[in-house]
Every structure is written in structure tokens, then in C-alpha cells.
Symmetry: C2
Amino acid sequence: MTSYAVVPVGLVVSGRTELIEDHWEREVATLQLDEGVVGADATVGLADFSHAEIVFGFHLSTQARTTLAHPRGNEAWPLVGVLSGRGPHRPNHLGVTVCRLLEVDGLRVTVRGLDAIVGSPIFDVKPYSPELLPRGEVHGPPWITELMRDYYD
Amino acid sequence: MTSYAVVPVGLVVSGRTELIEDHWEREVATLQLDEGVVGADATVGLADFSHAEIVFGFHLSTQARTTLAHPRGNEAWPLVGVLSGRGPHRPNHLGVTVCRLLEVDGLRVTVRGLDAIVGSPIFDVKPYSPELLPRGEVHGPPWITELMRDYYD
């Protein structure tokens, strides 16, 4: 299929620098947005929201798996397809995370709980509000509950 | 900044065909994934989740606004920046929506509540589970509550 070009709207400029899988809610990250891409007023009104949804790139991941694998290589968990997990080795290497907004200072946005390391390209920032919460009861299999036990905390 | 290439992992092949802004939860959409991109086993295990998060392209939107605007042009709502709303005329034209999974039949995935029309490119499908719900109390300004009143229903 035709490919599309995406341009970073900004970068993660401070926060975690090491690839550690868990404990992201302890991390405060700052995103520096690029005025040349988004314009100077891009975040006007954003601070009225408690949370923002960040679309970013797993820029250190260069491969996408196309075969079954155990999440995090843990054989206690089932073999699943690449689109049945949220790991970085996926087509297009995109991550999506809803984060608490701590500060919006022009094009500098500070968030808590973004699972992206310093240097990660940001492809979008969207406001998040209660109306966007999933409709209907949400459930997943036991392995994701176990995997996520320490992810945010 | 350097641009990145993203390749559709699939397309919306059935569902809404007209650009109507509201009432998306009434819509059932089918995504046909591309085996050449994701592999034949990409969705193994996905049916164990109640919901999936879909990253898609607003492919009919060719412009990104860089100035302030009233959401949906409604002057009763404040002037906000492009990253303070979720409209399609945004950098990279990416949409992100959590949808109910109705059926996973190999690389054909049927969902409820995807706000993308037929022909939209899909850039990622991720499983969604309760552990991904936002941490902390979620709130937004009154205008988003009004704007979203009929969005899902």
C-alpha cells in the first residue's frame, strides 16, 4: 500500500533516558513542540484538560515482528500476534498513551506517565476528556493484567 | 525535522461512507488488514480483549491548521489551538479511537464506534484493557462536553 510521510510535531526533551519497561507513572517528561510544524498557538486551551493523549514513535525499534511471540518473552503467557500486544516492535512503531498534563508553557508541555524516552519523536498531541473513555465494560485476558502490574506506578 | 514513513496495516472496508460528525457508536466498521504488512498471525489473541485502540488516517484532510479556531466553527466555544482539539485538520492527520471489538476473523476485524469512514488507512491496532485507563481524575472544559454530546451514541 502507499506509504504516508509523518513529521514529528516535537520531541521528548527531558524525562527517562534508559529503556526500562515499568514504573512510567513516576516519570515526568517534557515535550518541546516545533513552532515551524504546529504554529505558535497550537496548545492554546490545552491546559483546560487534565490529560492529553500523546502519539509518539518507538524510534529505537527498527523491526516489526510478523510471527507469534510470548509478550515480553515470558513463556507463562500465551503466544500472541503483533497487534494483540502493545510492544514497540510493531508496524509503524507508533505508541499511544494518555498522560496527566502537568504544565503547558507555550510549546513546552510537561506530562506524567508518558512511556517514551528522551529523543522520541512526537507525532500528535490530543486533548483527552471523560467523553473519550471507552463505551461498555472493558476487559482483557489475565496475561495483560499481569504484564501491566508495575507498568504505571 | 526528519520525516518518517508509515505504511497502512489495513483499510476500513465497510462502515460509514459519508463524513458526518456524530453518532459513531451506532456504526459497525470492518477493517481488512494486509497480510503482507502484518503477517498472517497478527491478530491471534486479540479476541480476548473487549476493546481495541485504532490509529488511523484522516485521509481526506490535506491541511493542518496552524492558527486559533473555534471547535467546529462554533463561536460559542473558545478559540483553541490545533493540539487542543481532536479535529482532522491537524499535523499528520492521525486519529486515535478506542472501539469495541465485535469480531476477529483472521485479518478481518469488526468494531463498533470507530470514527473513520470507508477507505481510511489504518496505521495500527492495539489491544485495550482496563490497565490502560487514565490515571487520576479526568476532566476537560465545558465546550468539549457539549461538542461530544452526540459524538458517540
